[in-house]
């Protein structure tokens, strides 16, 4: 694939020209603020995070007791019009995801109608047979979705992945904004930035709205695997902001299909569990018998309709990458409309033609494990070494059904503070979509990840990625 200059979200296709329409204010701010001043603020970003008490503790590792994921002070901006289009697409997609999961664990019409092949669903490692026939409140399975988007042009947004299990990262959205308010307060006077701080409240409303018992004040808890988990900070942060208890499996007990938490005042009945542990660890009676993170009997309580699990077990089927390749059909099937958000063109290596195509172009494609995440188990052809490509070729030939391939996209860039001054760096974007009993809500913002190394397309924090604040502008006075 010929590599042309990628689209820059501030400057468009001409890095040296005039900014894109609607982005003049930010460009002027960048121009007017002295470089030394920006450098000073960038340097104090880490101190700001620490003094705000925002440290992403890696508790498992004593040496790196507290680490901060690099934060870039130059924001990424969406105009009101861009955001409106994005949210329409996101809502349509997440509604379809919920309808799909409900169908898969119920009537399976989409399979009967031949839209999605049966084996790709039923033989999928993410298919959760024990919850077939479950009736979660309001038919909602994926209450919280993190949809990973990339952009290649002014109007070209693609969905890279649907995270429908336990998407993380929303604490960065909230804390990056806190840091920006402190570091660059004048930007919020110059630009009509929509606030994101309602997220914890909206999340709590979402949790309460799916409580099986509507007769009493619901009790919701956040279930964490504990402080050794790398996302523990986020669990603790969200529980705190929502004012709900942060519990571990050992704090809960199931008695006669009812879930209780053990408090100093006695047992308290639990209605909604926002669980941040994977399906496999939820209930040792049903899933992994060696799990000590969840609690025995939880699934029975869920199936009996006495407790809501957020997200519901079994949603992994919707973020599997093999299923992903059918998303345009899935959206069309349930919504009756064309998908507003595009998929990245995807070759399913389980199909012989696709495998052949992929093997011939390993140096150009991105190849991914269907059930991988975090940037692991992934080959980025154009930047890989010969050895990496050959290793991947062998793995691919051995187990083709475990892989998909996609073209290498020219991800959009955003001006970023680097050691060589301000320079374009590739970004992606994860907005968070909440689905409650009566509505789908999307806070105007999300997590922008940025590949800090020049030319790199890998934004994962484990591999040299950082984050930025994501501004969504109000429509009244755009730009």
């Amino acid at each position: 694939m010929p590599r042309s200059r990628p689209f820059d979200e501030l400057w468009g296709l001409e890095l040296a020209g005039s900014p894109r329409e609607g982005f003049e204010t930010l460009a002027r701010w960048l121009e007017d603020t002295p470089g030394a001043e920006l450098a000073r603020r960038q340097q104090s970003a880490e101190a700001a995070f620490r003094s705000l008490g925002i440290t992403f503790a890696v508790y498992g590792d004593d040496q790196a007791a507290e680490r901060i994921i690099p934060f870039d002070i130059l924001p990424r901006i969406f105009s009101a019009r861009e955001w409106e289009r994005l949210t329409a697409g996101l809502e349509q997609r997440v509604r379809a995801i919920n309808a799909f999961i409900d169908d898969i664990y119920g009537a399976r019409k989409i399979i009967a109608d031949g839209v999605v092949p049966a084996d790709i669903v039923l033989a999928n490692s993410q298919f959760c047979a024990p919850v077939a026939g479950a009736k979660p409140p309001h038919g909602i399975y994926a209450h919280i979705c993190g949809i990973d988007l990339v952009r290649t042009g002014a109007d070209e947004f693609f969905v890279l992945e649907d995270n429908a299990r336990t998407p993380s990262g929303v604490s960065y959205m909230l804390e990056n904004r806190e840091a920006m308010l402190r570091l660059c307060p004048e930007l919020f006077e110059l630009l009509p930035v929509q606030p994101v701080d309602a997220y914890p409240e909206l999340l709590r409303d979402t949790l309460y709205s799916v409580s099986p018992s509507q007769s009493r004040e619901p009790i919701a808890v956040l279930l964490t695997p504990g402080h050794y988990n790398s996302a523990f900070y986020e669990h603790s942060f969200l529980a705190d902001k929502m004012g709900i208890e942060l519990v571990e499996g050992q704090d809960l007990e199931v008695d006669d299909d009812i879930v209780w938490m053990r408090t100093i005042e006695g047992r308290v009945r639990v209605d909604v569990i926002y669980r941040r542990i994977d399906d496999a660890f939820l209930d040792p009676l049903i899933f992994r018998a060696d799990s000590v993170l969840g609690m025995p009997g939880l699934l029975a309580a869920y199936l009996a309709g006495n407790v809501a699990l957020v997200n519901a077990p079994g949603t992994g089927i919707a973020d599997d990458k093999a299923i992903y390749s059918y998303m345009p059909e899935i959206v069309r099937y349930y919504s009756g409309e064309e998908s507003k958000l595009q998929n990245v063109e995807t070759w399913r290596c389980r199909e012989p033609d696709a495998l052949k195509y992929t093997l011939e172009r390993l140096d150009q494609l991105v190849v991914k494990l269907v059930d991988g995440s975090g940037g692991y188990g992934m080959l980025v052809g154009p930047t890989a070494t010969k050895k990496q490509i050959e290793d991947f070729r062998a793995a691919l030939i051995a187990e083709p059904h475990r892989y998909i391939a996609q073209p290498t996209l020219a991800l959009s860039t955003v001006p970023t503070f680097t050691e060589q001054g301000i320079a374009p760096r590739h970004v992606d974007f994860r907005p968070f979509v909440l689905t409650g009993a009566s509505s789908v809500t999307i806070v105007p913002g999300g997590l922008t990840r940025v590949a800090l190394r020049e030319g790199s397309l890998v934004v994962n924090s484990s591999q040299g990625g950082g984050t930025k604040d994501s501004f969504v502008l109000d429509g009244v006075q755009d730009g």
């Binding site: 508790y59 603790s236 208890e245 942060l246 050992q250 408090t263 100093i264």
Partner: protein
């Protein structure tokens, strides 16, 4: 509040207090060691180990030296009561209750841990003294951070742990001095005896209090009076007993849970208050202190039951 969280908080209080007590004990013992005849050095350290209790003396083993004892008490991973192990356990509990702690409290515990993390040897006398100074400074940071916390259950459970641990430590300290310290051939009221009593005051930071309250030379029964009956001394048994009962009452008001622990705590306080040093000596110091230590352990178990600690 979750029962597990309450247990975490309680044990943060206990372990941090135990670490601080052991710090003071080593410091005072180093001082006593330097004042005593060289031949008594091992005897001096054995008595420090006896205060810590458990199998300390056996653990240190036959090739007993002052330096070995210092290492054992400060940073030995094999000693569950070494300062390092206590702080590590406090930190583990703090992680479990992280969302109930202020940033300050967490950082104070974490900083204390950082001073000990990479130490496997406290160094010579000088090195040990410097390390102990550092730990004491961090422990004061922890105390200060607790002071600034909201007065809610989280604070009360930590302080309750502190008080139960403190009562146990002070009682052991006094008991060991009274019961087994003075080596044969040394005269009661002699220089070594006097130094030992001073050391004991040093451990509970009571030298100043003693001078202020009694205005006379060291007298064993007055030291005992101070450590058991004087409310002016925060580390006295009566102070710990009174604070424990008050904290339980506050927790009870908020949680609606009162029970056996409250009764035990009040009964213990009533008994101390109804007594004085003369009565104590009459009934036998060792017997009374042993009974106190047993009751303290019973109170600890009653607290765990009452608040459903896992």
């Amino acid at each position: 509040m979750l029962a597990r969280t309450a247990a975490n908080l309680y044990w943060i209080g206990r372990y941090m207090e135990r670490a601080e007590f052991t710090t003071r004990l080593i410091e005072a013992t180093i001082r006593l060691d330097s004042l005593s005849p060289h031949t008594l050095s091992s005897q001096t350290w054995r008595s420090a180990l006896a205060v810590v209790g458990g199998d300390a003396t056996a653990d240190v083993g036959s090739d007993f030296t002052a330096s070995r004892a210092r290492t054992y008490l400060t940073v030995d991973q094999g000693n569950a009561n070494s300062i390092k192990c206590c702080v590590s356990l406090a930190r583990d509990n703090a992680k479990g209750a992280r969302n109930r702690l202020t940033q300050e409290v967490w950082e104070a515990i974490n900083r204390t841990w950082t001073t000990l993390r990479d130490r496997s040897n406290p160094g010579g006398i000088q090195g040990t003294v410097a390390l102990l100074e550092e730990i004491k400074a961090e422990a004061r940071g922890f105390e200060g951070a607790l002071q600034h916390m909201l007065r809610t259950e989280a604070n009360w459970f930590m302080r309750l742990g502190t008080m139960i641990e403190r009562a146990d430590n002070t009682a052991r300290l006094l008991d060991v001095k009274y019961y087994l310290l003075l080596p044969e051939g040394q005269e009661v009221g002699g220089p070594l005896d006097r130094d030992q009593w001073m050391t004991l005051l040093h451990v509970v930071s009571g030298q100043g209090a003693y001078r202020l309250l009694y205005k006379q030379a060291i007298q064993p029964w007055l030291v005992a009076d101070l450590l058991v009956y004087r409310r002016e001394l925060p580390r006295s048994l009566v102070s710990s007993a009174a604070r424990s009962a008050a904290l339980l009452a506050r927790i009870g008001n908020v949680s609606g849970r009162q029970g056996e622990a409250d009764r035990l705590a009040r009964r213990r306080l009533d008994r101390i208050e109804a007594n004085d040093i003369d009565g104590l000596i009459q009934r036998g110091m060792h017997e009374v202190l042993q009974q106190f230590i047993d009751e303290n352990a019973e109170l600890d178990r009653a607290i765990a039951r009452q608040f459903r600690f896992p």
